[in-house]
Amino acid sequence: MAEAANPKFLRPVVGPHIDTGHAITFGAERPLLLDGGRELSPVTIAYMTYGELDARKSNAVLVCHALTLDQFVASENPVTGKPGWWTTLIGPGKAIDTNRFFVICANVLGGCMGTSGPAEIDPSTGKPFGLTFPLVTIKDMVHTQAMLLDALGIEQLLCVIGGSMGGMQVLQWAASYPERVLSAIPMATGANHSAQNIAFHEVGRQAIMADPDWRGGAYQLENTNPSKGLAVARMAAHITYLSETALQRKFGRNLQNRNAISFGFGPDFQIESYLRHQGMTFVDRFDANSYLYITRAMDYFDLAADYGGALAEAFRGTKTRFCIVSFTSDWLFPTAENKRIAHALNAAAANVSFVEIATDRGHDAFLLDEPEMFATVRGFLNSVAGHHGVK
């Protein structure tokens, strides 16, 4: 393996013994023309599938993952050893029943779980890309997923589903490939990234770039890792995934393993200890440069901008059935932003449902045990599957 031959170019997350599932590489014959104007070739897409594709190839469900997640949606993550990140929703007998549906999830372009990204070796130099990797967009991510489906011989998707950045991809899918998407479930998302969300991302990026171990993005060459900066980025971001109510309920002003405040800067409060833990464990499973690239892709996302500023135009004439899901305590992608998508779809005369789930668990609620969300997805998907004759 290249890593073994060149130990100083170790990939930060995916070591030589990590199995990232299936992978497909598109060579020079199929270069990827990126939104930003540059070409990327070769392009590798790492992905996982669950369930069986039926003979008519009519039961495929594509899952689009959020910022720091990956293709291990319904099976153990090879890096963390933890269960798949959406096993609450997806699996045998679950709302997205893998006994009935063929579930596909690919690591996004720019990611660090086997798909082409800044941590991978640039074949033209033999060195890790680092910041020489081109900037990618949500549209580029979706484009690579479409290439993967082409390679798998899947013409139409019964459903595309995803939350947060995954929801952005779902919207992009519906806009770019309306004839390939029979139904779409964008959750906890928006048609663009708000100023507040860009601001939080910028804090994270600055934390990474301020870490001396970042080395201008070339840390792999110098065998360092900006783990402190990445941990701070994660800590700041993690707050935005929760809600004030949930934080107060879970932690309040409780002290961490002590009876009184210490008059120092150690983790006096449980919430501090919790955030430090979140930051520290994150750096073991995520690449700092990937974090820069993917957060940027989210910031750049503005679906309406590609259609003359009118979001409804992105969906003009669509036959896709939509089900939008938001969560009451999500302040990263609040209900109002999700509803804006529903309004645009109404204006495009699209077939749309919009459900708001009452929960105090914030943005992350879409990943958690929310029975009403499961009932929504199950009912919607059953109806779509029935309509299209999926057994």
Binding site: R321, C323, K339, A342, H343, N346, A347, A348, A349, N351, V352, S353, F354, V355, E356, I357, A358, E372, A375, T376, R378, G379, F380, N382, S383, G386
Partner: protein, 203 residues
């Protein structure tokens, strides 16, 4: 036809053509949409104020968005639905005039049902008691009723005219749940009908 539907909904359902694109505003628990999907193969959509009702509808496979008839109808393009339905809801809207105008704009056919405040029992109740009438269908006291804009059949006919609508067909809703054709402009039904169902088109 015994569909288990509320009588006004059953009468509206009967008038809807096969395969029509329908918007049910204030669709509640989705009973009408479900019935229409099963019997008329319609492309049905719902708009409903109560999030609980919306979630229940979607879990049953119906296409429903949470929204408010007073504010959200402006999103839809003109003449996009074959039928726009507003059942037992117009009296609870903030601006019935705007809502009715929007319905006529987005629906090729508009179906509206409402309780008739001109019914003789209501008139008599006000005359005899001098208090705001409460009936079986309008069982709220004046200060807590969601029905903030009650009207009579004659009022509704006048409003239809004002917003540029034409009555294509009108049905009187009797106490026993039966419906019968009525002359919307004559005084009889306004006195005798407990409720009314109107099918309107824009001029």
């Amino acid at each position: 036809m015994n569909s288990g539907l509320r009588p006004d909904l059953a009468a509206i359902a009967e008038a809807i053509p096969q395969g029509a694109r329908v918007l049910d505003i204030g669709c509640g628990d989705g009973a009408l949409l479900e019935h229409l999907a099963a019997t008329k193969n319609v492309d049905g959509r719902g708009l409903e104020l109560s999030q609980q009702n919306v979630n229940a509808c979607v879990a049953r496979g119906l296409s429903v968005v949470q929204g408010d008839a007073d504010t959200d109808l402006g999103d839809y393009p003109a003449q996009i639905f074959d039928v726009a339905i507003l059942s037992q809801t117009i009296q609870a809207t903030y601006s019935p005039k705007t809502v009715l105008a929007q319905l006529l704009r987005i629906g090729k056919l508009t179906a509206v049902s409402f309780p008739n405040f001109g019914h003789w029992r209501i008139r008599l109740s006000l005359l005899a008691n001098g208090r705001m009438p409460q009936t079986k269908t309008l069982g709220y006291s004046w200060h807590e009723t969601p029905n903030i804009h009650l009207c009579t059949i004659a009022d509704f006919v006048a409003l239809t005219d004002e917003v540029g609508g034409v009555v294509q067909n009108a049905l009187a809703l009797r106490k026993d749940g039966h419906t019968q054709a009525m002359q919307a402009h004559s005084w009889g039904p306004n006195l005798m009908a407990e409720g009314a169902i109107f099918f309107l088109r824009s001029k």
